[in-house]
Amino acid sequence: MKAYKEFIKGLWDENPVFRMLMGMCPTLAVTNAAVNGLAMGIATAFVLFSSNIIVSLVKRLIPNEIRIPAYIIIIATFVTIADLFLAAYFPDIHKVLGLFIPLIVVNCIILGRVESFASKNNVLYSAIDAIGMGVGFTWALTLLGIIREIFGMGSIFGVTVMSSSFTKWVIFILPPGAFLTLGVMLWIINSLSKTKTSESHCH
């Protein structure tokens, strides 16, 4: 039961993007198309999963004073592994994401989960936490990518869905579009959750 709770919290209640507002840099930067958001989410989930497991394994060996630099080295190692594997075996995806893969190192979701969860819990729960958070981050980025791609390019995952008379709102694939879309999404999701909380208090 606890395992299920650790998994499910990342999807909605503690969703890294919509509820905790962590990892805003990749969230805003790469979600200009659905496929970019999806690939970024998967790469981040891999790094988060591997780092969470390693840190929860070695947490007793790392003295408290140097835990942050030690975690950063572990995270950076997995980011570089992801970068190299993508470059060798998925050159097309690597070409699109290029610059943003190395930037996963400074994604605060990963350091945040490692520091607040993996360093205090066992390997199994850390792995489940990472999967939940990874999936939560991935769906959030993919959703933002889909919305921005529809308005900005009239397509989803590169497939045209709007008629040719549709005027593309280029602003949606430019940086301001990221802020606009994220802001509106946060408003919708916050108002949904508020109703839910007050209802549950009544009962």
């Binding site: 200009n32 790392i62 140097i66 080295i73 572990i74 190299l84 060798a88 070409k95």
Partner: protein
């Protein structure tokens, strides 16, 4: 004192382990990465010089990498060369094709770039690329006047345009001086 030495040692061990893992992964992936890059480069010669049967190296030194595209009969019908220059972020590497008969650019292909996905990365899309095909070698062309820039990516558009005009001059000089 003893404590800080312990901390230094632990961090060094972690860094060493990380370095060891990474060099192992790199040694596994680097042959594949190089093969992918080389295959791309060779495939792109055929893409920028449609109609050629084979190619041979014309010049390969530090400054330039030029290929001659050969027709079925073995005549040189086009030149393809690798051009490299600064983009909006990082370097842009192009394979550019030149048709000898019409003295025009055939097209270019992006080998490497680090432009912004969705914006500058469109230098790799047909809509932008086709503007360069059939441009004469010797008439210079500019963004705005002759080339329509990509929306939101003026710097990337200008970088590609300038890279092509500049490298074209260099190639013409090399080829021209060899002929005399």
């Amino acid at each position: 004192m003893g404590k800080s030495i312990k901390l230094i040692l632990i961090l060094s061990v972690i860094s060493l382990l990380s370095g060891a893992v990474l060099s192992l992964v790199y040694s596994i992936t680097s042959p594949t990465m190089e093969a992918v890059a080389l295959e791309n480069q060779q495939k792109s010669i055929f893409e920028v010089l449609p109609g050629i049967e084979s190619y041979r190296e014309y010049k390969n030194d530090e400054s330039m990498l030029i290929y001659e595209g050969l027709s079925k009969e073995g005549n040189v019908i086009g030149l393809a060369y690798v051009a490299e220059g600064a983009g909006f972020q990082g370097r842009i590497k192009l394979m550019i094709g030149m048709d000898i008969k019409s003295k025009r650019i055939t097209e270019y292909k992006v080998l490497e770039h680090q432009e912004t996905p969705g914006l500058g990365a469109k230098i790799n899309e047909e809509g932008f690329k086709q503007q360069f095909s059939q441009k004469p070698w010797t008439e210079p062309f500019k963004v705005k006047d002759d080339i329509e820039a990509i929306t939101g990516a003026t710097i990337s558009s200008r970088a590609v345009t300038e890279l092509i005009t500049k490298s074209l001059d260099e190639v013409l000089q090399i080829v021209g001086s060899d002929e005399q």
